[in-house]
């Protein structure tokens, strides 16, 4: 029974860790995209004001 328990527990942990890693990467890239877009908008705003 302990082998069955560990096989399923480790499988779930690996899949959970991978799901979390995808989520973290998504959040990181979303933040980066927002930051770049903000910079571009600011830059465009300055150019228009000039």
């Amino acid at each position: 029974m302990k082998y069955l328990f560990w096989a399923y527990t480790i499988t779930w942990l690996v899949l959970f860790a991978y799901t979390v890693s995808i989520g973290l990467r998504q959040n990181k890239i979303d933040k980066e995209l927002k930051w770049i877009k903000k910079l571009i908008d600011e830059r465009k705003g300055r150019t228009v004001n000039k």
């Binding site: 069955l4 480790i10 890239i29």
Partner: protein, 232 residues
């Protein structure tokens, strides 16, 4: 409704569907399917072990197909799908390489033996780990995509070797396909099929998410170029 929110809703629906099928799969494994008479309860590792192995093979087949497509067309989206599939396939092979030895310990009383199925599976894992390392070490996009496509095509050669190794050489690893059919009771066969379907759904869910990350990364690169251009 914009395209982005439709995509998000579809991804959420797909994720929830995968979760529901996963719960059904666990019910079948732990509460419905009978225990195997010789191996006992530990045989239930089989449903996750075979399910994840199938998805790993399928993922590497997708890498193979989309690598060929990339080399023929040079379209970045094919490279993204191949790269995402290689990553997911490696994760599933990791699960196979963890559940296999646990099952081996309970059945053969050893964690690892250098028999053909196990050895070729370990080689498969190393091949796609190298694929991921190649991608992360090369910075120039064209070169990275071309190199990994070649790697993805050559690396796939090991998949049929892993699959047929039990027929060609192995004496100790259990054989699922023998004499033209599967040696399984109907309940076990159904549970295995649900398990395979569950992990296939999970694979597509992951593929969707990882490709979205790669696309967003490319978009960020383009925007950075645009920003640099506007600053200079």
């Amino acid at each position: 409704m914009d395209k982005g929110s439709i995509k998000n809703k579809a991804a959420t629906f797909f994720g929830v569907l995968t979760l529901i099928v996963m719960v059904v799969n666990l019910y079948l494994i732990f509460l419905w399917v009978p225990e195997e008479k010789v191996l006992g309860v530990v045989q239930k590792i089989f449903y996750f072990h075979v399910g994840t192995a199938w998805v790993a093979f399928f993922a590497f087949f997708i890498v193979f197909v989309f690598s060929i497509l990339y080399l023929r067309t040079q379209k970045g989206k094919w490279d993204q799908i191949a790269a995402a599939s290689a990553e997911i396939g490696t994760v599933f092979t990791t699960v196979v390489l963890i559940t296999g030895p646990i099952w081996a310990k309970s059945s053969w009383n050893t964690w690892w033996t250098w028999e053909p199925r196990l050895t070729t599976s370990l080689i498969l894992w190393f091949i796609y780990l190298a694929y991921i390392l190649v991608r992360s070490s090369v910075t120039e996009y064209e070169k990275k995509a071309r190199l990994s496509a070649v790697f993805g095509i050559i690396g796939f050669i090991d998949v049929p070797i892993v699959f047929f190794s039990v027929r060609w050489w192995s004496v100790s690893h259990p054989t699922l396909f023998a004499g033209g059919g599967m040696n399984l009771a109907p309940e076990m066969f159904l549970t295995l099929m649900v398990s395979v379907a569950t992990f296939t759904l999970l694979y597509f869910y992951y593929l969707w998410q990882v490709v979205a990350v790669f696309q967003a990364r490319d978009r960020a690169k383009d925007l950075k170029k645009e920003l640099r251009g506007s600053l200079s």
